[in-house]
């Protein structure tokens, strides 16, 4: 399931719900990304999404992960709009028969979300605001899966 939201979400409650009722998935892995304050240099983050388009593109990444890692299920929650330091921005959870597939699929989905997902990110700080593009490190992380 893919959910874009402008509201805060509770990663613990989402993970509990994702695990509930599973009798055949022996492994659930999860990741939560939190907005960094950068020691006061980032006072707020603004993420723009293109509703309708952004979910579709993330959906294609999730489908690829299902095939590649024999997943049973996947959850992607992504915030957009203004986000304060300390708030969760993104959560990924993956369910599979065994832990290796669950860990790897979660890692893979995060690498794609960090570099390829259709979001435009603006950091607001005391020095002004700037649009952020993927870092070299994000692109190197993604290249691990080629």
């Amino acid at each position: 399931m893919i959910r874009l939201t402008e509201e805060r979400f509770d990663p613990g409650a989402e993970l509990t719900a994702f695990c509930a009722g599973r009798t055949e998935s022996g492994a659930v892995a999860s990741f939560v990304g939190i907005a960094r304050g950068e020691g006061g240099a980032a006072t707020a983050l603004e993420l723009q999404a293109y509703p309708g388009f952004t979910e579709g593109e993330i959906g294609r990444m999730v489908e690829a992960a299902f095939t590649r890692f024999s997943l049973h299920d996947a959850l992607v929650i992504h915030r957009h709009g203004p986000i304060a330091p300390g708030e969760p921005i993104v959560m990924v959870a993956t369910a599979a028969a065994h832990r290796r597939e669950a860990f790897e699929a979660c890692d893979y989905l995060m690498d794609y979300l960090k570099s390829r997902a259709p979001f435009w990110k603006k950091e607001h700080g005391p020095a002004g605001a700037r649009w952020v593009e993927p870092t070299e490190r994000d692109l190197d992380d993604l290249a691990r899966w080629d």
């Binding site: 993420l47 388009f53 390829r116 259709p118 435009w120 990110k121 649009w131 952020v132 993927p134």
Partner: protein
């Protein structure tokens, strides 16, 4: 026709969403109309890595536009 601008394109233009009436018949006609009105935005739309989506599907090169098309200009994505 609705036109949407994302990321830095919205800052350059001073708008993020606008209706164009009468609607241009093609993507190149829309870009020419925008460039004639706002040269900085016209240049920004031609910059490397800026893509266009018509009705939420990425298009490459030229595209015909229906009268109620939704056209979005997408600068390089920053990821989540």
């Amino acid at each position: 026709m609705r036109v949407l601008l994302f990321g830095r394109l919205g800052d350059i233009a001073g708008w993020r969403e606008r209706d164009f009436e009468p609607p241009p018949a093609s993507l190149s006609a829309l870009k020419a109309l925008i460039a004639a009105e706002d040269a900085a935005l016209g240049l920004a739309l031609e910059a490397k890595g800026v893509r266009a989506a018509v009705d939420r599907v990425i298009v490459r090169g030229e595209a015909a536009l229906g009268t109620d098309a939704e056209v979005a200009f997408l600068p390089p994505m920053s990821g989540g």
